[in-house]
């Protein structure tokens, strides 16, 4: 455990910790990020909400346009790695602009996409039915979303403790300071173990505002958060619901994204 900073110690809520071996619970939280230690096929429904903010001032009160895409997905999660993940998200019929999306970045599991890291393509087609965007993307290769966030933050200090949880269970709380955040705000990871059994829920909350970038051009990250709800199965804990959402501002433009996956069914690979 690295040295603890005074700010971190001051941020520890008084009287909430319980006498538990943190090191014993930390590895037990991993299944929420890795998925079961098995190969499993899953299917479900995905919803992606996009919010595009228009600034206010002399020429308007400021407004935010909202777009929602939804559709089914199916995939194969093999020992924590997505071997295959197919999605077909579209805006509702008749909604303009029509947007479609064929790729997702789940919270659980590591994405083994074919795209290069950071690759971005932009396109716009104007046709008889109005504008049409086609979104097709992949996240980083072979890295879990939450692990990637922590990798980007590179906290100097991490503090972990246990709290009492539901059904006589426990909650593992992991907290680390975030560079660029206001007022020494922290990233919090809370993993719930109801009844001291398998983990059922993960909530990751980033500071309200994080400034990214050292030069003149800085991006702002607002209200980033990740949530996973899991249920026990014979293969191990499987996510039933997960979400990742963030708002980012860069060069005066602000866009928000909220991705939600609802897992509806599973089966062992080869079943």
């Amino acid at each position: 455990m690295p040295l603890l900073s005074l700010a971190t110690l001051l941020a520890l809520p008084a009287g909430v910790g319980i006498d538990e071996e943190v090191e014993a619970w930390e590895p037990r939280a991993r299944p929420l990020l890795d998925g079961p230690a098995a190969c499993v096929q899953v299917q479900g429904q995905a919803t992606v909400a996009l919010a595009v903010m228009q600034p206010g001032g002399w020429r308007g009160p400021g407004k935010t346009e909202h777009h929602t895409l939804s559709g089914p997905f199916t995939g194969t999660l093999d020992h924590g790695v997505w071997r295959e993940l197919t999605a077909a998200l579209t805006t509702a019929p008749g909604v303009s602009p029509a947007v479609r999306m064929t790729d997702l970045m789940p919270v659980t599991g590591r994405k083994a996409g074919a795209h290069k890291k950071g690759e971005v393509q932009l396109g716009l087609t104007t046709g008889d039915n109005g504008e049409s965007f086609d979104i097709s993307a992949a996240g980083a290769q072979g890295i879990n979303l939450v692990d990637g966030i922590l990798e980007g933050i590179r906290p100097d200090v991490t503090l972990s403790w246990m709290e009492a949880g539901p059904d006589n269970g426990v909650v593992l709380v992991q907290r680390a300071p975030v560079k660029g955040a206001d007022d020494d705000q922290m990233i919090d990871l809370r993993t719930t173990f109801p009844g001291r059994g398998a983990p059922s829920r993960l909530d990751v909350t980033l500071p309200r505002v994080i400034k990214v970038g050292d030069g003149l051009v800085k991006a702002s990250i607002y209200d980033g958060q990740v949530h996973v709800l899991a249920t026990p199965t014979p293969l191990g804990p499987l996510p039933t619901e997960e979400s990742a959402s963030v708002v980012a501002g860069l060069l005066g433009f602000t866009v928000g994204v909220d991705q939600r996956l609802t897992y509806t069914a599973y089966r062992p690979c080869g079943g």
């Binding site: 919010a51 600034p55 998200l89 479609r100 049409s132």
Partner: protein
């Protein structure tokens, strides 16, 4: 990682409308083991932007599902409307200006602005803007035009009412003949603005009475400036038409401007 994730979501490629969703091959339903619906409503980063987070999807019951389990209540959502956003802007400025019944020329320069607004869906929303215009004049006229304007107020539905002040240092001198023109002067006064947000159209007016504080320009009369304009809003670009009529030192001046604003 967040930026990478958002970059991935924003990645796009051309498609012929209307978009056709690729087929998602689902194995026979009989092989699948249903997962219980969670029914949970997670908090979302989009909530402060006025959007309800996407609800948990209730899938088509192609396969039987177990009863809904008890779930942990969602964390309290941050209230919308208590957040203020702001941004800086830098824009080129292009206008034609001159003396009424006198010489005219082009005004070229840039404007540095700061906008702020309240994130809310309420009818009453607060907003404001400050801008520093730095213009030089070419053609049959000469002289600088430096303006610092800052007005703040509220938007009541589609009606915007803002008030503040304007500090200006300028001169408008005929390059060749045509009389003495407007001598240099530093003026200060209040400014009131009104705008009407009609969606694709936004007409606006502003009035600025000003007193000359310094400079060789005559300070005997109150200077008055009427500004007005019309914004024509497109999907990703706005066309901004503006005009001004000003009386100062027994002279009448005019200005007509054209601007473009790009947005997502």
């Amino acid at each position: 990682m967040w930026m990478l994730w958002m970059g991935g979501l924003a990645a796009a490629e051309e498609a012929a409308p209307p978009p056709e969703a690729p087929k998602v091959e689902a194995p026979p339903a009989a092989d699948w083991i249903p997962l219980p619906p969670s029914g949970v409503a997670f908090p979302s980063a989009l909530t402060p932007l006025g959007a309800p987070p996407p609800a948990a999807v209730s899938p088509t019951p192609a396969i039987p599902t177990a009863p809904t389990p008890t779930t942990t209540p969602a964390a309290p959502l941050p209230p919308a409307g208590d957040l203020v956003r702001s941004r800086l802007s830098l824009r080129p400025r292009l206008a034609r200006a001159g003396l009424v019944d006198g010489p005219a020329g082009m005004a070229l320069g840039a404007a540095v602005g700061h906008q702020w607004w309240q994130l809310s869906d309420d009818t009453l929303r607060f907003a404001g803007e400050s801008r520093l215009d730095l213009l030089g004049r070419v053609g049959d006229i000469a002289g600088p035009d430096l303006r610092l304007t800052s007005t703040h107020g509220l938007w009541l539905g589609p009606v915007g009412l803002l008030a503040g002040g304007a500090l200006r240092y300028d001169a408008l001198l005929p390059d060749v003949g045509g009389g003495p023109g407007l001598q240099a002067g530093l003026s200060l006064g209040p400014q009131g603005r009104a705008a009407l947000d009609l969606g694709p159209l936004l007409p606006w007016v502003a009035f600025t009475p000003a007193w000359v504080l310094a400079g060789p320009r005559s300070a005997e009369t109150l200077e008055q400036t009427w500004d007005g304009g019309l914004d024509l809003r497109g999907n990703h670009v706005d066309l901004r038409l503006s005009g001004a009529y000003r009386t100062a030192a027994d002279l009448a001046l005019w200005e007509a401007g054209l601007g473009l604003s790009f947005h997502l």
